[in-house]
Amino acid sequence: MNDPSRRRILSRIRSSLKSVTPENPPSAPAPAPKRTPAARIKHLTQRMTAVHAEVHVVEKTHWTETFKALAAEKNWREIACGSGHPLIDELKMAWQTDANDLPVLTPCTAASAPFKARLFQVDAGITSTMGAVADTGALIVWPTPAEPRLLSLVPPVHVALLPAERIYNSLAEAMTEQKWKAGMPGNALLISGPSKTADIEFKLVYGVHGPRELMVLMLV
């Protein structure tokens, strides 16, 4: 490239490092202790609950029923969702079967501007997840064409569907097992709880710019 700034910066860096022999990259550390699947569920739940996430452990076979009950309780008017994911298909089926007294379920449409505006008005957004990390207590969320970035950010409540068998011990383990290096999505997220701040006198307040509530449905 013929960008002169680039050229000058790189050339100055090179001459600054002239006498340095680059050594080998730091070796990998001893692997972190591994927990049993049950212990991982427990630890993840503890960590996320401690930062005000709401964690429900539900049976995979009838999670939609449980979710319907929760949605009714919360008095939501409208929930936004994505499409194309098996769990979201199940969700849509459940709503098609019977949606009495339930919030409206609005799938994200193709047109971006109207849907973006809609997200600022719905009560909750529901997404799938790629799994979770037990040691730090975080969900792994990869937005896709089917589930846009703002779905888990703009609505005041984020509902996350987490298959319990995809809980990893650590971020390093998740990155390795899921082969992140081979292809990162445009945006990859770790989400550990509802948004918060302590900028005023260190008083903790939830629901700043991101969701005020994070509800995790852990599917076992």
Binding site: V51, P145, L153, M184, I191, S192, T197, F202, H209
Partner: protein
């Protein structure tokens, strides 16, 4: 408040020390941050290993900086990002301006970025009629009262809730006066939500950039960073060149060190990893992502094997939290963007040692910072080095030469006395005759403002032992 333009460090320090409320707020805040960090790393041995690893990762990245920057640039471009190189603050500002103008934006939304403070981006944009809206709650508050951040991580740490209530009530139309922290936060959320929705451009910093995959990693708790980088059509990411790391595997340990050291969290609410603008079929995300790589003297600092270690800094702020000087004067007194121990080293290196090297004097070299730095930067050694650079008698910049010459003369005399102990003993005897060190005038005068003057012993240890013969070989 304390402005860099009229940089009188001694005066700033005096003013800060006299400000009771500031000192109370600071002490309480730093104690909380110290305690939080302590709780975040319960296993001392594991923390040591983690710090060593962090050090190794950053050192390795610096040693391979040109290759890594090229690799980062290559990956980012492959992924659809645009990469700009800025040698100076001015160039970085111009680049931002041209992007903003290309999209006919009159304002932009901004996540926290120390680099943007370093280049004085907001003031520059304002001069060109562009409003930069700070969205991090602490930054939002201080922007409203036209101040600068006083701490890297908690920018409004010096304000209590009454002050915040007054600021929001006065500066935001229709905002009620309330001291309830939840209500204050809700006011900010409501006000900024509209700006997010309407913004065409969002700006962010970068906590670390992975060369291997072309991924920008950003950490936050509020969600404003994700808003700035996902809602508008354009995302501009500002990054110092020293923030690049080699591999994705380097992220977990650095993340742990950063969040644990900065706020005592095992992880922030969000870790936002950006690798590409909106891809085909995606419904949202910025259509353009611009990465601006800022040099601003870093490539020069790199030339010095000792001083280059300051470039390992991951901007966690923990050296500030543990510093007995920062705790007593806060960030504004330093008069520059980066306060505390790391700022006392970095600022002279980017703004000039003669002009700002005085900052490095405000340290007793107690070493508390070094003991907690997550990447093991030897801060006391670097502070000494800045002092040494400033003390060179024939400095190119000249300014302060007279003061240096006077001090140099003192040390020359001191050295003589220590090489010819008979001089030393004579001086001490002369002092002993008066009983106390001369403190009526001169540099020792202020000692007696708060202390009685030290008393010379009637006989030195040398004299006592000469008399008894003890200690002979």
């Amino acid at each position: 408040m304390y402005r860099a333009q009229t940089f009188d460090f001694k005066k700033n320090v005096q003013a800060a020390l006299a400000d009771r409320r500031l000192r109370r707020n600071l002490r309480a805040a730093m104690d909380i941050l110290i305690d939080n960090r302590h709780k975040a790393f319960p296993d001392a041995a594991a923390l040591e290993r983690l710090r060593s690893r962090g050090h190794a990762i950053k050192q390795h990245a610096l040693n391979r900086l040109p290759r890594l920057l090229e690799e980062l640039e290559g990956r980012c471009r492959e992924n659809g990002m645009q990469v700009h190189w800025a040698e100076t603050a001015a160039e970085a500002n111009d680049t931002v301006l041209s992007i903003v103008r290309a999209h006919a934006a009159r304002f932009l939304v901004k996540g926290k970025s120390m680099v943007s403070e370093e280049i004085h981006l907001n003031a520059f944009l304002a001069r060109h009629g562009i409003e930069a809206v700070e969205t991090d709650l602490g930054e939002f508050i201080i922007q409203l009262c036209r101040e600068t951040p006083s701490h890297i991580i908690v920018p409004a740490i010096h304000k209590n809730r009454q002050e915040v209530a007054r600021i929001l009530h006065q500066q935001i139309p229709d905002a009620p006066y309330t001291e309830d922290v939840e209500e204050l936060t809700a006011i900010a959320r409501h006000t900024l939500r509209r700006r997010f929705a309407e913004a065409r451009v969002g700006i962010s910093g970068v906590n670390m950039a992975v060369a291997e995959t072309g991924t920008l990693v950003l950490v936050e708790n509020e969600g404003n960073g994700r808003m700035c980088t996902s809602v508008p059509e354009v995302h501009i990411a500002l990054m110092g060149i020293e923030k690049v790391i080699a591999r994705l595997d380097d992220v977990p340990p650095l993340l742990r060190l950063l969040t644990g050291s900065a706020t005592g969290q095992i992880i922030t609410t969000y870790v936002n990893m950006i690798t590409a603008p909106r891809r085909k079929g995606e419904k949202d995300g910025p259509r353009e992502v611009h990465l601006i790589l800022l040099d601003n003297r870093r490539s020069h600092i790199l030339a010095d094997p000792e001083l280059r270690q300051i470039l390992m800094c991951i901007r966690c702020g923990t050296c500030l939290n543990h510093c007995p000087v920062y705790t007593r004067i806060g960030g504004h007194a330093y008069g520059h963007v980066y306060p505390g121990p790391m700022g006392q080293v970095f600022t002279p290196l980017i703004e000039g040692v003669q002009e700002t090297g005085e900052l490095a004097d405000a340290s007793s070299l107690c070493g508390a910072c070094e003991a907690v730095c997550p990447v093991k930067i030897p801060l006391p050694a670097l502070l000494r080095r800045i002092r040494r650079e400033r003390a060179q008698p024939h400095s190119a910049q000249g300014g302060g030469r007279l003061k240096n010459m006077a001090e140099a003369a003192v040390w020359k005399g001191w050295a003589l006395a220590n090489v010819f102990p008979v001089l030393n003993q004579a001086a001490v005897k002369a002092g002993a005759k008066t009983g106390r060190l001369p403190t009526v005038a001169g540099p020792l005068k202020q000692w007696t403002n708060v202390r009685t003057a030290p008393r010379f012993a009637d006989r030195t240890l040398h004299e006592m032992l000469n008399a008894t013969g003890d200690g002979d070989e």
